[in-house]
Amino acid sequence: MNGNDAILVSGMVKTFGRIRALDGLDLSVQTGEVHGFLGPNGAGKTTTLRILLGLLRADGGKALLLDGDPWREATELHRRLAYVPGDVSLWRNLSGGEVIDLLGRLRGGLDPRRRADLLERFELDPRKKCRTYSRGNRQKVALIAALATDVELLLLDEPTAGLDPLMEAAFRECVEEERESGRTVLLSSHILSEVEALCDRVTIIRAGRTVESGTLAELRHLTRTSISAELEKPPSGLAGLAGVHGLQIEGSRVHCQVDNAELDGVLRHLTLFRVRSLTSQPPTLEELFMRHYQVEQTAGGGLEVS
């Protein structure tokens, strides 16, 4: 067993009645990294996090959290981690400040200076009663309570879903700081740009199963670069080249995706028609994601709506 793993999950299964929410899920998060946990709605992200928190009991597979059993040693492990739920619901008649303090103290204490700093950065008024907070503000309460605690591991379940772009930027800064101070972060999300900007490694899941896992560079390697070029004359023969996909030709303008392994040959071919301008984009996570999505769609003969 790898001693560097903050989280190690293998073959995890969880069923709710006849619904198989997790179907052999694998996940490994190394200590000190920011790990993106990606998947469409209903893929099993929250279920996984709840099992890691010992709220749900897995029906099969192994899970190791900070070298402990997330079900049996829940209380002891929780001293070393902080969790931000995706849908934050708070006590209506407590103020935001009270909830931040309470949750911090229940975890074993929080840093008052960091608390004040975070309140300022997230522009949260801690005197308001929780029932008057909007969804985004409730999320800030949970985020501040988690970030102001000195813990080894942060479990964040779609933490920016209700935040505006400015607050999202503040959140990214905070995660960067967490990384620098050596904490491990598991960030579940379906916002790809966020994961792309923050994460060292990524795990993509679908329908309760891991479909891809690795660093962004590794994942990109598996995919295509998109190329747009303006040529001097209309090209020919492109369609016959290996590794060219989604070819569109409008007069002398070309747009296509190219398998990274075949990039060299395609570029050589383009120069035959005199390249005037060329833009190339590395595959975004979005495309990665869409590809898995589409592959499953065609292979499965239909998409499970979840």
Partner: protein, 532 residues
């Protein structure tokens, strides 16, 4: 009429959501008076027998307090008297139905979802009131038809049915107003149930002194009193319905006016800012539970103290009736004369308060479930707080809260009764004991709620059904000539009738044991199950 747009669609939504609950309570509340009528005809077949029963029951303050005055010794009249407490239940389900479809929806944010569609701002209130009034009318028709089917006079049967419905309608409108005033559904229920409690209290205070006592006007200030003042099967006074109709119209209009003037989601009390940091004591699940339970506990304790004070202060006047009537005195010699009557009255009141305190116990225990389903358990359980510690901090209120409320009622009743007889020292202890002795039975209900929560979390509302069944067994079990073992199912059957009755420790120890077993089973189950 724009404010009412979409009412029809909302009515269908309510009917769809309540398609099981609504028929159950209508049938149940109609069935109780019907079975009472059958029993009376069976137990007292002759007019002479009924007359004797009417004389004793009508002068027994305990029975008058519970069911009201006896107006007619006919089978119909006695039935109408004996089911005089059922309108309170009709009122409870009516007010709960209205709040469930107005403020609860708003609090959950579902109202907003609808507000985005073509739904007028008053439509949810209108739909909830229409459905509840219609349900009450169905109840009235069922009840009247059933009574007529028992060969009772048609006019009286219709009057009784309508009288029941009038209580439901008035309190539906009370709930309509409460739902506008309070920001949370819990607080709205609290307001509406307090008004109902006050109405019941006024009726009791007005009735127990007899018709010619100076307090009888109090019953006329109570919608629950009106139900009885219709006097079904006696000399029906139809004009009393005008009072109920008037109250309904005024309250419903007030609810509409309030609803048009406020924001969705808001109440009438502006939110005040809270502290920016938590007090040093807010650092444990128990401290959190105290913050969440203290308002409810305070409300119940004050309510119980007020009820105890009122019931205690009318005890002396109630048992005084015998002084003017030597014939009755002979009749009641068997149960200990005047002092015995006062004791019987007080112990009956304490029995009712015990049932009410169980309502608090169930409510407090089920806070666990609402914390879980509203996703507020998750953030706490994700910290270094174990499940058992979290759950017991809430259950503590279900166990100790009823002790507070019952003690408050017992002290208040003992004090006021003691002052009126001039023997505070003696009466205080006796009456307080009568209140506190209810606790083991109350704890059984807390235990049932805890067991359901831990083992069958989706069925936690069965704890309310259990309480409802015990209430029915306690109030109507003997009248319906149920078997001994059925009566024994209710923990309240085993509680000694204090003051005055015999006490033996054995049943109390058993009840505490049963409550403990239920609670422990629930906690063992909760430690092993999924949360959320």
């Amino acid at each position: 009429m724009k404010e009412l747009a979409g009412t029809g669609a909302l009515i269908r939504l309510i009917l769809r959501r309540d398609r099981i609950l609504l028929p159950i309570w209508i049938v149940l509340l109609a069935a109780v008076p019907l079975s009472a009528a059958v029993s009376f005809a069976d137990l007292y077949p002759t007019a002479a027998e009924r007359q004797v029963f009417a004389d004793t029951a009508g002068n027994n303050p305990a029975l008058v307090a519970l069911y009201g005055q006896v107006f007619s010794p006919s089978v119909g009249g006695l039935t109408a008297w004996r089911v005089g407490i059922v309108p309170v239940f009709v009122a409870v389900v009516s007010l709960l139905t209205v709040i469930r479809h107005t403020r609860t929806e708003e609090e959950a944010g579902r109202r907003e979802l609808l507000g985005g569609g073509v739904v007028g701002r008053n439509a949810p209130l209108a739909a909830a009131l229409i459905v509840t009034v219609a349900a009450n009318l169905v109840l009235a028709v069922l009840l009247a038809l059933g009574m007529i089917g028992q060969d009772l006079p048609a006019v009286g049967s219709i009057a009784l049915g309508l009288a029941f419905a009038s209580a439901g309608c008035v309190f539906a409108a009370v709930a309509g107003v409460a739902a506008q005033l309070a920001e949370g559904a819990g607080a709205a229920r609290g307001i509406a149930i307090s008004v109902l409690g006050l109405a019941f209290l006024l009726r009791v205070a007005g009735d127990v002194g007899g018709e010619d006592n100076g307090l009888s006007w109090l019953s006329w200030a109570s919608p629950i009193g009106w139900v009885q003042q219709v006097r079904p099967f006696d000399d029906e006074r139809w004009w009393v319905f005008a009072l109920a109709a008037g109250a309904f119209v005024v309250l419903a209009a007030a609810a509409y006016a309030l609803s048009s003037r406020r924001d969705v989601g808001a109440g009438f009390l502006p939110p005040r800012p809270g502290p920016a940091t938590a007090s040093p004591s807010l650092r444990s699940p128990l401290a959190l539970a105290w913050r969440l339970h203290r308002g409810l506990l305070l409300g119940w304790t004050v309510g119980f103290a007020v009820m105890g004070a009122v019931f205690g202060s009318v005890t002396e006047a109630a048992s005084d009736i015998l002084n003017d009537n030597p014939q009755l005195e002979m009749l009641f010699e068997r149960v200990g004369g005047q002092a015995g009557l006062a004791d019987a009255y007080l112990s009956a009141i304490m029995g009712i308060l015990g049932l009410a305190a169980s309502g608090y116990a169930v409510q407090a225990a089920l806070r666990l479930r609402s914390e879980e389903t509203d996703m507020r358990a998750e953030p706490v359980l994700a910290t270094a707080v174990g499940r058992l510690r979290w759950a017991t901090s809430h259950l503590l209120f279900a166990v100790l809260g009823p002790a507070f409320t019952l003690a408050a009622a017992g002290l208040a009743a003992g004090l006021t009764y003691g002052l009126s007889t001039g023997e505070v020292g003696e009466e205080l202890a006796r009456v307080l004991a009568g209140a506190v002795v209810q606790l083991p039975a109350v704890w059984v209900l807390a235990g049932i709620a805890a067991a359901l929560y831990g083992l069958l979390p989706r069925l936690t509302s069965l704890s309310w059904a259990a309480l409802g069944a015990f209430v029915l067994l306690g109030l109507f079990g003997e009248l319906l000539q149920l078997e001994e073992w059925m009566l024994d199912l209710s923990p309240f059957t085993h509680i000694p009738k204090l003051p005055g009755g015999e006490v033996s420790a054995e049943p109390l120890v058993w009840l505490v044991g049963v409550a403990a077993v239920f609670t422990i089973a629930g906690m063992v189950g909760f430690r092993r199950r999924d949360v959320g």
